[in-house]
Symmetry: C2
Subunit: 444 residues, 2 copies
């Protein structure tokens, strides 16, 4: 189907193409348009029916949105804006350069302009920047019949009518009622008798991660957003939260891999930008690894007299690093998903002690068998490696388990405390244990 349409467009048979396009889903149309060259894209976009055009526009990447906005008339801009939900307008404006934003604002009425400015002022990643204002508001004195009438009158422009909100004359949130309950209730019932008064709500300034956690906890599809006076100002719908969940997981992953987090897709980020996100931590970690080098230098004489010690350094460092990042990954993820709280630190400590004991003794024993019995390494060297490996694993798991929790307690980001930083600490301590044991056991 897609290829047929693309062919029709290539051949300039636009009205033929239009007929087929309108049977597609807006997301698929947007994806298809991306494959066209600019001029054909513009023509195809302009022949779309008005109501489809806005939906397709919402699902386009921001470069294409910009290219379209810059090529169409003010009247066309206005007609797209009229069809867009406010949250989609904001998402789009946030990616546009100042001159485009100005042109958009020029083409909206005063009320919308005021709203847009208000929304653009909400902190990034806050509930305010996620929410939309297209919700249905009802009054508790209404009957079910009146409520359904109001929904029929005003619902057509709303992002969702699945849950409607009951407010008082000062717009204070009083309750919620689902369309399902309205439909299944008797027409003469008063809303105040059937509305849900224990509504869970969020504040405009709440962090989007907390918003996502509320959705997960309560299985809601919509959550109302209120200001500091508990006045209803908007709603957040679950589909916007899916993106937040992915974003937050990606951000944690990037931090754990020592990258400065960025929301931009890899393929759409320039090499220079990518390099800029990666360099700072690599530099910091490279310089802190010098410390480890310093330890080796300090024990140069010991190393020189028993050269075989050098060959176990990579294994000790790697195993310590891996053991530590296993623990830190589980803890960081657990904290992010709310499965554990900073108060669980002693439970974690106890568990990591046990786990590291089991893991450490197994690894050390296997390694001892390998290097002493199979590779015929000197007994005392083998014993040194045995002890160092065991204590390195225990240490790595405790540092890996506890450091993210301490970070959380200090209101720092646990993800930053992950992998590479822990590896550097563990490396240094492992080498100190290694050479101290060696000098003592081997008498060097």
């Amino acid at each position: 189907m897609k290829n047929i349409i693309l062919n029709l467009v290539e051949q300039g048979k636009y009205s033929e193409a239009r007929k087929r396009i309108i049977s597609l889903n807006i997301v698929d149309i947007a994806q298809m348009l991306e494959e066209l060259e600019q001029q054909k894209l513009l023509i195809t976009f302009r022949i779309l029916p008005k109501d489809l055009a806005a939906g397709v526009f919402t699902h386009m990447p921001s470069e294409l949105q910009r290219c379209i906005i810059e090529s169409i008339t003010d009247k066309e801009v206005k007609s797209i804006l009229d069809e867009l939900f406010l949250d989609d307008t904001i998402d789009f404006l946030e990616e546009m350069p100042a001159n485009v934003v100005k042109r958009i604002l020029r083409n909206t009425n005063e009320e919308t302009r005021r709203l847009i400015n208000q929304f653009l002022n909400y902190p990034k990643d806050s509930a305010g920047s996620l929410m939309t204002i297209e919700y249905v508001d009802l009054r508790k004195g209404m009957t079910v019949e009146q409520a359904i009438k109001r929904i029929k009158e005003t619902g057509i422009d709303k992002e969702t009518i699945d849950t409607c909100y009951v407010i008082d004359n000062n717009r204070i949130l009083e309750g919620a009622i689902s369309i399902r309950k309205l439909i299944l209730s008797d027409e003469s019932t008063l809303l105040k008798d059937i509305m849900d008064t224990g509504v869970i709500f969020i504040n405009t300034h709440d962090d989007q991660e907390d918003v996502a956690n509320l959705f997960k906890k309560y299985n809601y599809l919509v959550i109302p957003v209120v200001d500091n006076e508990r006045r209803l100002v908007g709603i957040v719908t679950i589909d916007d939260v899916l993106e937040v969940i992915d974003q937050e997981a990606t951000e944690d992953l990037q931090k754990m891999a020592a990258i400065q987090p960025s929301e931009k897709e890899y393929l759409k980020t320039s090499a220079l930008q990518l390099a800029r996100h990666r360099l700072p931590w690599l530099l910091i970690l490279m310089i802190s690894a010098t410390f480890t080098g310093g330890i080796i230098k300090r024990f140069e004489n010991a190393l020189q007299s028993v050269m075989v010690l050098a060959s176990f350094i990579p294994m000790l460092m790697d195993t310590g690093g891996n053991a530590g990042s296993q623990s830190s990954t589980l803890i960081i993820r657990g904290l992010a998903l709310g499965d554990m709280k900073p108060g669980d630190i002693f439970k974690v400590l106890k568990k990591e002690l046990l786990v590291s004991g089991i893991v450490g003794i197994t690894l050390s024993a296997v390694n001892f068998v390998r290097i002493y019995y199979i590779e015929k390494t000197d007994l005392l060297v083998s014993v040194t490696v045995f002890f160092t490996l065991f204590f390195t694993v225990v240490l790595a798991k405790i540092v890996g388990g506890v450091l993210p929790i301490i970070a959380k307690k200090l209101k720092l980001d646990p993800a930053i405390m992950a992998g590479p930083l822990i590896t550097t600490i563990v490396d240094a301590v492992a080498l100190i244990i290694y050479f101290t044991t060696a000098t003592w056991l081997l008498g060097i």
Copy 2:
């Protein structure tokens, strides 16, 4: 509020407690019950109104569910089961031991038993195991009035009535219609004239990750599930997908940290189980690190004559490992979110070459200044470190960027190819470059 209720329960004032409990959200009630000791928990659970009890039960951890099921009468079991949605029943049964499952099946009617057995047979992590059968089905010949009447009659037991599905006499899926459209349409309109015929659907055997991606792509709240004959068999609702998204991200994170993935929460997993998830990869990586040790052994003489070379090994290995896992993390995440496809391999290669060039030259230069000018290291050694660091970074980024894509192409899991495995490869090659350059430049 929670503390007041817990106090009332402690004092045995159950009817007082009940009054307050019923004003709470079921999720909060479930969480509160977790804090009670077993006997009080059971009493409190049994005084809950029937319709609340099932909801609260769904949100309890499986140990508590089991404890409740084992302590209540068959009649109570039956009344809970009657209120549960099928997908919640399945989730709960999947965690129960065989004797509990048997007791449950004994307390259901034949039809439900057949359905439960069918659902338990869907592959874990498939759309079939995610879906529920509580949807509203309509016929295209119905008028809006008839449809709303049917929803009023049958909708009370359904998981959602927001989207209803139109099927033919053989239950083949023909279209979908939202409750919103029904409410906003004229009562005499025929469904076939307003239904959406381009419904996106999934097959019972589709993987849950693909299901989640469809929800993200199309912003739907519900997606219908069909069998191989396109007969409607169930629906998946978006709230179940939130969990899937978290689960998939967690699984990738665990694999990248060299842990065997597990869905069980950290604090609820025993130390022995945790150790079992962590040991296999640690063992494999420890043994493969031996290879790196072998390289050092092979160059023991070179090392012995220029001992300072040893002190740069940790820095080279760490920086290589970090540079590689930065790239692999971005690529693995991009593949998981569908931002890039295996076909993008050459774009990635080109980008990583550029990025690694910039990053490599910066790191090497900074390090050269530090070791040659500040630490007064020998010039030829400094040059050796300069070259090795540069090529290690380039190599690490290319391996890190390309290996996950190759894994995906070979239908292997890209996440397994991440961090630790790449580190081991990069370590070995870095040491070979290091010692080869050193022997050549320093003439040792």
